[in-house]
């Protein structure tokens, strides 16, 4: 065997070794972010909001009905509730008890995570605007991120009655949101082949598998 071939084999073995090593850890094909579960600037709990409190997904992600993007809710949506709810129920109860015991007025309790929200909106503990403070934007980390040459449209899928969980998994049980599906093209196409679309006045057909359904 020539030394050239030996070198090539050597490199290949080396890569194979790396592959074996990598198999023992979290390995994905390039672009596959399945299982991605980044830390977010505010530890928002989907388990609490979507699971325990059973708030409808569309309440916050209202864009999913009318737009391509489901969207991350603006802070003003959070404030619909959190202008009154400023801390967990347990903490409020504890404060109420303590106030009773000490014979004083109950103080407003603000949880650490909600304080981040109020800080972003430049509100003080009494939820009044802080003079001179500028609101700060909240940079959420994007979990579901399709490549730039793919156009996914939430509104069509929602209109067809597809449950959010079909793609996003059991979000109501996730403390921190995790990418549930691999969001690979094969995964999309599989569903498009299986699903039947009913349009009034026309024979049923499969969801489109045209390239231009997603790529343009």
């Amino acid at each position: 065997m020539s030394s050239r071939n030996a070198n090539i084999l050597c490199v290949c073995m080396l890569l194979f070794g790396a592959l074996v090593l990598a198999q023992t850890t979290d390995v994905r094909l390039p672009g596959n972010n399945q299982g991605y579960e980044p830390e977010q600037p505010i530890a928002f709990s989907h388990r609490l909001h979507a699971g325990e409190l059973a708030i409808d997904c569309m309440y916050c992600h209202f864009g999913a009905q009318t737009s391509r993007h489901a969207g991350v809710p603006p802070a003003s949506v959070c404030m619909n509730c959190h202008s009154t709810v400023t801390a967990g129920y347990d903490a409020v109860l504890a404060e109420r008890e303590a106030a009773n015991d000490e014979g004083r007025d109950e103080r407003r309790i603000i949880s650490d995570e909600l304080r981040k929200l109020y800080d972003a909106l430049a509100l003080d503990d009494e939820l009044r605007p802080v003079a001179g403070a500028e609101p700060q934007r909240i940079e959420w980390v994007r979990v579901h991120d399709l490549p730039d040459y793919v156009y996914f449209d939430h509104r069509v899928h929602v209109a067809r009655g597809l449950a959010c969980e079909t793609c996003h998994g059991p979000v109501q049980s996730m403390e921190r949101v995790r990418q549930y599906s691999d969001l690979a093209m094969g995964w999309c196409v599989q569903c498009h082949r299986d699903q039947t679309v009913v349009v009034e006045g026309h024979p049923d057909e499969h969801a489109s598998t045209d390239c231009a359904a997603c790529h343009y």
Binding site: I8, L9, L15, W140, G201
Partner: protein, 998 residues
């Protein structure tokens, strides 16, 4: 915004060295397998997630704005003074595309190239960020008190204040100007237009006693005679006129009609190229021709003979007699227009219309146009005042006199205050610069026609520090109200009381006007307009020296008077007639070129009478031009266009778009003359043209992407003839047999290579009516804006690498007077038997179930086989990453269309993003897509309604009906590629001819 696909950063490889195996058989195949495996292994083990991306929602979103969902804001186009209504398509809080507003009384939908491109100017990073004082940036808080104080001092004294603007027809601004100027003892407002129509207004003043520009109704005219007025492209209100013109040439319905259009002109204009009969005349002959025409019309109308005998000295008597007959037959349904800025010529045109009874029919003085208000005589008075040093403060707003009016000594004003959007020749010498906002970020109004009040409203929070003239004047008069308050107050006081449907509540009225984009007021009508014929006098024929050429200065579609010279879309837009990009040039006729021994691209010296520096320009030989005329476009040589030196890719063979230290084109505004009546003359000077021995290559797209097959390569009997690509018939032939133009075409084979495997439920298709298309090129820019089509620069255009998905092929026929033209928009024909699909080795171009020929960028590896095999030559290859010249202009990208990267093929997609959007909305509403709901960008921008799009499988759809028209044919359909675009052959009143040439 979609960016280039991001690159994955691979971390350095770390691993353990293993010993090689002994005695392994090795082959090329095995080697490749191993290498392939190694690369895959490296990819799997080495790859990590791309860079973290963030989602940043608004803290408090704007009302009604849902991320990713488009919305439209009705406003007024700021591209010129025509005041077309637009619907600004916005996404995520910023405008990305302008669409014509179909309800607007002036433009009725459709837009011109300049309007389409004006969205890009919003994102021009050259625009002023701050006011300037003697060239140094200052704050408004510094400028306002200083100017208030300076102006206040003049108020109490006898200071002379002059305000110089372009046409300002916004009633709120005019009121503000009146209010501001009335506070001074000696103040005056002078209006001028870079492309002056002052003579037209002056002629009406002389004839009717009122300086007015009549509303022209081309839709009512059965005979149109135009003396050098380019009304379909650049003259006054091209969108409105094109819409009317195409309505007068309607081949559909029970009463088909086709107006007769005569064009008499020196240069070859777009309007001339659409004319039924085109006659070449030199500018100095226009007065004689019109006088002769009036003479004949006087006889026919039985009017007092004021011009008796004028026909005797008329140069083209046969033509004039024919025109007079046609006009008389049409009677009041006639329209004579002249583009000249010579009062005598305009007076004759007035008189001719009067003799025909056109006033009150095709010309409306009750609802006059206000699209041009410039007064050159007032301008001349200002010039004299400035020369005498008699102006204390000169305020210039929305105009660039230092460029347009080289003989105006602006520096002689005591103080020069300039309101402008971006640096130009005038701001360079200003004492103070007060930035203006872009039309898409400001409040305002316009009254393009009496009684039509068009509103301008912001579509985006101000990107720069601009403030409207209305607000600036108020601030300098110590009035601190906001722009919106000023506008609303004016509307409450002045517009609402005279509105046609005021309702009871002003707020509701104003909101409704904002939603629609306009309001209409009651106009006093029924006034008696009497022409005082005394103004009409016989003409004195003049003739320049026999061998001299007359310079005709004209505006180019898009760039106009130079106001859009900084817009790269418009610079790269091929001129609709010459097809040249990125330049101006001296157009001469083939005969003149031969006489002067000049050929295309030769640099010639243009020496002009008078004490003027000669210009050096490349020569363009233009068929159909008068032999005594040299035509040069205005609007070039603008300060700051050296920024385009670097447009285009940076590589070893690159040549700059602009030579070192130079600008785009040559400034011809210096050649504007002052006529006897004190107006600015655009065709007044005689000149000599001589070669310099040097030459330069013009970036013309005319010979690019030709569908012709050289005769020696074509199989006998299968030569591709222009006549088959763009067939033509006369109106009379069409009436006898609607399919006349298609006779003698190649046999179309019905054979099928494939099973009918794409017989889907819908089949998207398009029809293009060549009898309506004027070649105005609005669709080309509309497509560019919609589909993120890149600008590549002059050098790349020379190399046939322009990226436009939609081009307009221009076919000339005949020579001299007999040149007739067909304009043919050409884009991907979405063939059912697409040759490109068969040759792609990676299936990057495949057919969809809806009849679309899909181009999948992420599959394409750039073999370019498809472009080679495409018979229509509509595929474009990205030789480089063509990035926007101005990084801020990436904000104008359509987020719904991928920005293509290097090495990828692209082409027209039938605006599939719009199809998908309409389908998604229909699905959301639980209904089928309605006919007409999907409009590709080209159809939306077409002012002539030449393009129709829809489902060919639906026999009721408008496109299916048009596709079955007897004029319908497919270009190169003999190849059996089965295009989804059907063209309707051109029909006009022209002559019957056999062959086309290029």
């Amino acid at each position: 915004m979609k960016k280039h696909p991001r690159k994955t950063v691979l971390p350095p490889f770390e691993g353990t060295v293993l010993l090689p195996f002994e005695g392994t058989e090795s082959s090329r195949r095995g080697f490749l397998q191993l290498v392939g495996f190694g690369i895959a292994g490296a990819a799997i083990s080495g790859c990590s997630r791309g860079p973290t991306r963030h989602v940043v929602p608004a803290l408090v979103p704007a009302e009604g704005v849902v991320p990713g969902r488009p919305y439209w804001i009705a406003t007024t186009c700021g591209g010129c003074e025509a005041g077309c209504g637009v619907l600004a398509k916005c996404r995520d809080g910023r405008p990305i595309k302008l669409e014509g507003n179909p309800q607007h009384p002036v433009s009725s939908g459709g837009l011109c190239p300049a309007g389409q491109a004006s969205v890009l100017t919003l994102y021009d990073s050259r625009r002023f960020e701050k006011p300037l004082r003697a060239g140094a940036a200052v704050e408004w808080e510094e400028l306002d008190p200083a100017l208030s104080a300076a102006l206040g001092a003049l108020r109490s004294g006898t200071g002379r204040v002059r305000l110089l603007t372009g046409t300002t027809n916004g009633p709120s601004t005019r009121t503000a100007i009146g209010h501001f100027l009335s506070s001074f003892g000696d103040a005056r407002h002078v209006t001028y237009d870079g492309l002056s129509c002052a003579a037209l207004l002056d002629a009406h003043e002389a004839a009717f006693g009122r300086r007015a520009l009549p509303r022209m109704r081309f839709e009512l005219a059965r005979t149109i005679v135009s003396f050098d007025a380019d009304f379909l492209s650049t003259w006054i209100s091209p969108v409105e006129f094109t819409r009317g013109y195409s309505r007068g040439r309607m081949l559909e319905g029970d009463t088909p009609r086709m107006s007769m259009h005569y064009q008499l002109e020196g240069r070859m204009s777009l309007t001339g190229s659409c004319a039924d009969e085109r006659v070449r005349v030199a500018p100095h002959e226009e007065a004689s021709l019109l006088a002769g025409l009036c003479d004949l019309l006087e006889v026919r109308a039985g009017a007092t003979r004021r011009l008796a005998g004028a026909i005797e000295s008329c140069p083209r008597r046969d033509v004039v007699e024919r025109i007079a007959e046609s006009l008389s037959d049409s009677g009041a349904d006639s329209l004579v227009v002249a583009g000249s800025n010579d009062v005598e010529v305009q007076l004759y045109a007035c008189y001719a219309n009067h003799l025909l009874g056109a006033y009150g029919r095709t010309l409306d003085l009750d609802e006059p146009s206000q699209q041009r208000l410039g007064d050159d005589r007032a301008l001349a008075a200002l010039r004299d005042e400035l020369a005498a040093g008699a102006v204390d403060v000169l305020i210039v707003a929305g105009a660039n006199p230092a460029y347009d009016l080289p003989d105006l000594d602006l520096a002689a004003a005591g103080q020069l205050i300039v309101c402008a959007e971006a640096p130009d020749e005038t701001t360079a010498i200003a004492d103070w610069v007060a930035p203006l906002p872009h039309a898409l970020e400001s409040w305002g109004d316009a009254e393009p026609r009496a009684g039509v009040l068009s509103l301008t409203q912001p579509t985006v929070p101000p990107l720069r520090a601009g403030r409207t003239l209305r607000a600036s004047l108020a601030r300098w008069s110590e009035d601190g109200r906001s722009e919106r308050e000023l506008l609303r107050e004016h509307w409450r006081e002045a517009v609402w009381p005279s509105a046609q449907d005021p309702g009871t509540d002003f707020d509701a009225f104003f909101d409704a006007a904002l939603e629609r984009g306009f309001a209409q007021t009651r106009v006093q009508s029924g006034q008696a307009w009497t022409l005082s014929a005394d103004a009409v006098r016989p003409t004195q024929p003049s003739a320049p020296a026999a061998d001299a050429l007359t310079v005709v200065l004209y505006p180019k579609a898009g760039v106009l008077d130079g106001r859009h010279a900084h817009n790269p879309w418009l610079q790269e837009l091929p001129d609709p007639v010459t097809k040249i990009t990125w330049d101006n040039y001296a157009c001469i006729s083939p005969v003149t070129a031969e006489r002067l021994d000049l050929s295309e691209g030769d640099i010639a010296r243009l020496e002009v009478e008078g004490d003027l520096a000669p210009l050096e320009l490349p020569v363009h030989v233009q068929r159909g031009q008068d032999d005594r005329v040299v035509a040069v476009a205005l609007g070039y040589g603008r300060l700051g266009t050296d920024r385009f030196a670097d447009v285009g890719p940076d590589w070893i063979g690159a040549r700059p778009t602009v030579a070192a230290g130079g600008v785009v084109g040559v400034n011809a505004a210096t050649l504007v003359a002052t006529t006897a009546a004190g107006l600015r003359g655009f065709q007044a000077r005689s000149a000599r043209l001589t070669g310099t021995g040097r030459s330069s290559e013009l970036a013309s797209t005319q010979e690019h992407h030709s569908l012709e097959v050289p005769a020696h390569l074509a199989p006998p009997g299968h030569e591709v003839r222009d006549k088959d690509i763009a067939p033509r018939a006369t109106f009379e032939q069409w009436q006898a047999d609607p399919a006349t133009a298609l006779h003698g075409r190649h046999h179309v084979s019905g054979e099928d290579l494939w099973k009918e495997d794409h017989a889907g439920r819908v089949r998207w298709g398009m029809t293009i009516d060549l009898a309506r298309c004027t070649g105005c090129s609005a669709c080309v820019v509309g497509c560019q804006a919609e589909n993120n089509v890149a600008v590549v620069g002059k050098d790349e255009v020379r190399r046939h690498r322009e990226m436009s998905w939609l081009r307009i092929d221009r076919y000339f026929q005949g020579e001299g007077d007999a040149v007739s033209t067909v304009h043919q928009p050409m884009m991907c024909q979405q063939c059912d038997h697409a040759p490109c699909e068969a040759v792609c080795p990676v299936l990057a171009t495949v057919h969809s179930s809806e009849g679309l020929n899909q181009q999948v960028y992420n599959r394409c590896v750039g073999t370019r086989y498809c472009a080679n095999t495409c018979p229509y030559k509509v595929r474009r290859f990205n030789w480089f990453d063509y990035e926007p010249i101005d990084p801020l202009q990436a904000a104008a990208f359509n987020p719904d269309v991928t920005v293509r990267s290097r090495g990828v093929m692209e082409k027209c997609s039938f605006c599939v993003q719009r199809i998908q959007e309409a389908k998604a909305e229909a699905k959301r509403d639980g209904r089928a897509v309605r006919d007409g709901e999907i409009q590709p960008a080209c159809q939306q921008s077409c002012p002539a309604d030449a393009i129709t799009f829809g489902d060919l499988n639906d026999p009721e759809s408008r496109v299916a009906v048009r596709a079955t028209d007897a004029r319908g044919y497919g270009v190169l359909e003999e190849l059996n590629v089965r295009p989804s675009v059907r063209y309707l052959s051109r029909v006009d009143h022209g002559q019957e001819e056999d062959s086309h040439d290029h």
